[in-house]
């Protein structure tokens, strides 16, 4: 399957995209370190459900052109009470990102076919976290495109 896709790309003249440098955050220290690094995307800065990112870190991330990515997967696989903590924490994060004008990326973060979600569902997820419909659309289309273009 992979080989067929590779051959098809070659025939059609698609140039393979360079992989985007993304790093998974989580703890306060890790988030601060990533914000100062050459990473392009900070993945899931609060996977424990605690507020582990502050405005100063977000400002540094913005200055270094690092996007903040929120994946649906961690919400899907969390237990009931952890999910509540995650929703509270990420709503706060989205609020801060909008204030600091950080680039937000929404993704499914799927590891298998059952974790994949459609764009409509990801837009609804963005609206649920506090984005407007337009911002959520931008977060699943234009924001990742910008990061990929920057990598090229």
């Amino acid at each position: 399957m992979y080989y067929d896709l590779f051959a098809f790309r070659k025939e059609e003249g698609f140039s393979p995209a360079k992989p985007v440098k993304s790093t998974k955050g989580g703890t306060e220290e890790a988030n601060k370190k990533i914000a100062r690094s050459r990473t392009q995307v900070l993945l899931d800065p609060m996977d424990s459900g605690k507020m582990t990112i502050d405005t100063a870190t977000l400002q540094v991330a913005k200055d270094n052109d690092i996007a903040i990515a929120v994946t649906f997967r961690q919400f899907l696989n969390a237990s009931k009470f952890k999910r509540i903590r995650l929703i509270v924490a990420y709503r706060k994060l989205i609020q801060l990102c909008l204030k600091k004008k950080n680039r937000i990326i929404l993704a499914s973060g799927a590891e298998d076919e059952f974790e994949l979600r459609s764009p409509e569902q990801l837009i609804a997820f963005g609206v649920f976290l506090g984005l407007t419909r337009q911002q959520a659309k931008w977060a699943i289309s234009k924001a990742p495109e910008y990061v990929m273009e920057a990598q090229q």
Partner: protein, 107 residues
Amino acid sequence: MKPFPPTLREKRRYIEFKVHGPTTEKDVSQAISNSVLSLFGEDGYARANFSIIEYEKGVGICRCTHEWLDNILIALAFVGQIKGEKARITVLSVSGTLKTIRKAKGI
């Protein structure tokens, strides 16, 4: 009984969805209801006026009020397991009338 005037009727949205995974109608209905209940509670469930209208061969139609459409879409996305097995629900289309959605479905 005198029908409600159009301005007082609630605006409904019908969602056509597909279930990926081995499931029966009862299990799917229970999983979606549990997801809506756990995310929005009984008050939210009532406000959304949520119900599953039909389900056949992995494709079903559910109904909610237009104000709660995004919330119901997110509740459908949060269904990750049905009866202990991995599953996912994808939204095929959203419509304002049952007639249109059935037309799209090819009934």
